[in-house]
């Protein structure tokens, strides 16, 4: 689920390495809720979103 502090214009705050990982794993960053400071999306968030998707889950692990 998108984080509650969702930013205008769908801007997701995540480091470049995490954004690239999301593309690699086919994860839509906008659908990941960030566990970092102020809701920043981390590598772990993206990996668990990808595992959740693989497992047919809802992206929350």
């Amino acid at each position: 689920a998108p984080s509650e502090t969702e930013s205008p214009s769908g801007r997701v705050f995540a480091p470049p390495s995490v954004r690239r990982l999301a593309r690699e794993l086919g994860v839509d960053l906008a659908s990941v809720s960030g566990s970092g400071p102020s809701g920043r999306v981390t590598e772990g968030d993206v990996r668990s979103a990808a595992e959740g998707a693989d497992a047919g889950g809802d992206g929350e692990s």
Binding site: S7, P8, F13, P15, R20, R23, P37, S38, G39, V41
Partner: protein, 475 residues
Amino acid sequence: MVVGDISTGTEVLVIGAGPGGYVAAIRAAQRDLDVTLVEKDAYGGVCLNRGCIPSKALITGASLAHEAGNAEEMGIHADPAVDMSQMSSWKDDVVDRLTGGVEKLCKANGVNLIEGEARFKDDGSVRVAHGGDGQGSESIDFQHCIVATGSRPIQIPNFEYEDAPVWSSKDALETDAVPGELLVVGAGYIGMELSTTFAKLGADVTVVEMLDDVLPGYEDDVSRVVRKRAESLGIDFHFGEAASDWREQGDGIVVATETEDGEESSYDADKVLVAVGRSPLTDTLDIENAGVELTENGFIDVDDRMRTSVEGIYAVGDVADRGPMLAHVGSKQGIVAAEHIAEEPVAYDAQAVPAAVFTDPEIGTVGMTQAEAEKEGFETVVGQMPFNASGRALTTNHSEGFVRIVAEEQSGFVLGCQIVGPEASELIAEVALGIEMGATLEDITSTIHTHPTLAEAVMEAAENAEGQAIHTLNR
């Protein structure tokens, strides 16, 4: 095929060896692709040969001479004489070292270099005409092509760069003599960098600009700092005027200008430098043969992987319709195109494109201004630190300007930064990394910044945004 053509094939053909093209070629070769790079003129493109590099070299020389000659306050008494042709050949040495380096790096990475002008035959091949007369041509089939042909200075009616008194930025950077009186048409970043340089070298500089301030696109309080300093260097500004014509008079020339209402003025000068912008170089490429789509302004239309409308053909740099026309944007796009061809999960998704203007003082910006952020729907908080409260700035005797940082109010995420002041071009790097990483104001203020440095002002601006600056009063 023309008789006598040799036809070869390559996995990746790159057209143009500027910062977009040569970086793309090297990165593609690093991915073990077979890469051919075609350049019709000089390795390094506009940037190394007649843009970024020679301009910054002359700015260094002019600033050092000017500063040393104006430092009585600091107890330094000097009256430097500048030998312009010597300064120019030092600058040429710098350019030669770097362009030679580009050629060597291409070769060392295994890029095939071909000198000549490429034109598309269709969407899978180009013909390269080798320089000079009758040196023949060759045909190259490609699997992928990266177009990186760059841009050229816009010409305005009646001002032909072929005429000796009419200078493009290229001519200005190649001169061996400082003109007595220089008229500059256009107060964009190139016009302002060169006006400042020639004023410091002793020219009597007048700038005419159609719009109503220097550096259109920058916030008023940012451009004001640069304009004030330029004025104190003796540069005369005339806003709201467009150059309309020129003629010879005695040893020099007279340049005529016109306001929107048709009011005319005229200015005596020795040279007139036209710096009104640059346009993409797509018209000498037969790009229609490949079927690649252009925008109305003649740029090549691309997506965030730098793909054009034609499968397998990419465009990067000044010629591509994405991002500002800046060298580092071209290089980044070149990397994206090369890595995309190598099937990596890459995108041109920069959150923050830094830009610098090498005026006195410099400007460095990245991300959004407060107005831009609010327009995007962010609730913002802003912090500022004037350099005249920075210990390091005072010790360098350059304390004009400020750092401003823009953040989202609730989360504290940094959205943008505007710096005008000493080393602004370098200071912006920290904030660019911060924005890309999703840094909050707290991340910046919690990071220890070396004392005494100008970079502390970035931290102080962030503290000011948090309402708890130490070295400036909080609003």
